[in-house]
């Protein structure tokens, strides 16, 4: 397997404008812009990379996801989204456009219950410009939220709550999910095909010396394993693991001003067929700018 190194020249996250009317369904408070909308707790910013290695051809990659929460209810988000991911790198070209509806539903009120199921999902049109396919996708994943325990270390085994384990803060989040894809038009093949997958995902976040460093140093990992239970395409590959590991250090992290600047290194190894991301291993060095204007 080939390992490539490159430098992200720019990573910017625009999250929201905070001073809009709370009850206004058209508030910019409800707008979210990120790299991808799949991520639960690790806010990966939208990015644009332009890479010019010496003696080789240049390439660019873009990752952008925008969603709008149009839900009038307080315990769920529901609204339109678009995602665009493109890489012109010759060996691993990627061109994905998605548009549809996403939702995020905390089923029970945590103020009145000690835990609640959380359902996250989306239904969307999917266009893969490299494989020249169009299709419909449906995905849903599930986890359980619990009330926090004041970061007490005794409860580190409870998912989705932060525990302080002395030298670091620790958070893990397991998900189980299902993905369904109906490919309506495949290159050189007018017939349709369906794919159904089950998935398991574990996200682990570690913040070393969280009190003295004020969470400026973060180690974020995300392992997802997908398994095809039905695949009517010619592909014989049924298992699709992917590991993402990020180490970020923020030189500036100002919660009040909602600004942060940092550097990060990301390691990715695996494949994400739903995102048109073929098997690969890569390391990215990044400058990170986050800005959530008021």
């Amino acid at each position: 397997m080939k390992c490539r190194h490159f430098v992200s020249l720019l990573m910017i996250q625009f999250v929201a404008l905070a001073n809009a009317r709370a009850q206004d369904l058209f508030s910019l408070d409800r707008l979210l812009v990120r790299q991808s909308l799949d991520t639960k707790q690790v806010a990966e910013p939208a990015f644009f990379n332009f890479v010019a290695p010496s003696g080789k051809s240049t390439w660019l990659s873009i990752g952008l996801g925008i969603k709008y929460d149009a839900s009038p209810a307080s315990n769920w988000e529901l609204g339109p989204f678009i995602e665009y991911a493109k890489s012109t790198e010759i060996e691993k070209e990627q061109s994905i456009f998605k548009a549809g509806v996403s939702y995020d539903w905390t089923i029970l009120d945590l103020a009145e219950n000690i835990s609640s199921p959380l359902l996250i999902g989306k239904t969307n049109y999917n266009r893969d410009g490299i494989k020249e396919t169009d299709g419909l996708q449906f995905s849903a994943s599930f986890t359980i939220l619990f009330r926090g325990k004041g970061k007490k270390p005794d409860y580190f085994y409870i998912p989705n709550i932060v525990s302080n384990l002395g030298a670091f803060d620790f958070l893990y989040s397991p998900h189980l999910g299902f993905e369904y894809e109906d490919i309506m038009r495949a290159k050189g093949n007018s017939t349709s095909a369906t794919i159904s997958r089950i998935l398991g995902k574990v996200q682990i976040s570690i913040y070393p010396f969280s009190e003295s460093l004020e969470n400026k140093f973060e180690i974020l990992s995300d392992f997802t394993f997908r398994h095809d239970i039905v695949n009517q395409t010619p592909s014989t590959d049924k298992d699709h693991p992917i590991l993402k590991l990020n180490l970020n250090y923020y030189l500036l992290k100002d919660a009040k001003a909602k600004k942060s600047i940092g550097v990060g290194i990301a390691y990715i190894n695996g494949e994400d067929p739903a995102a048109g991301f073929d098997q690969q291993q890569l390391v990215k060095l990044s400058l990170i700018f986050q800005w959530n204007p008021k």
Binding site: Q41, D69, T106
Partner: protein
Amino acid sequence: MPNPTKDELRKEIKPKVIHNISILSGFDEDRIKEESKLFEDLGMDDDLRGALSPGFQRIAKAYNPVASISKSACKKLSLVSEAIDLVVKGAQGA
């Protein structure tokens, strides 16, 4: 009876918001300050902050029956003071 001023409303709403944050974060109310950071200090990640919205909406609706506090707005909160401001805005219908 005249409507309360924003400062009066904020004073009234603040302990209710802090009570709500205390229930979900597991920290005692007296450890939760306006300047506390919801994630860094109180361990409330995106999903736990989003889960604040039904409770916040109940508080706001006591003052403004059509108030709506969205889950997405709660997920974006960084500080306890911002949470208080969000609920006050909803309560005011401003």
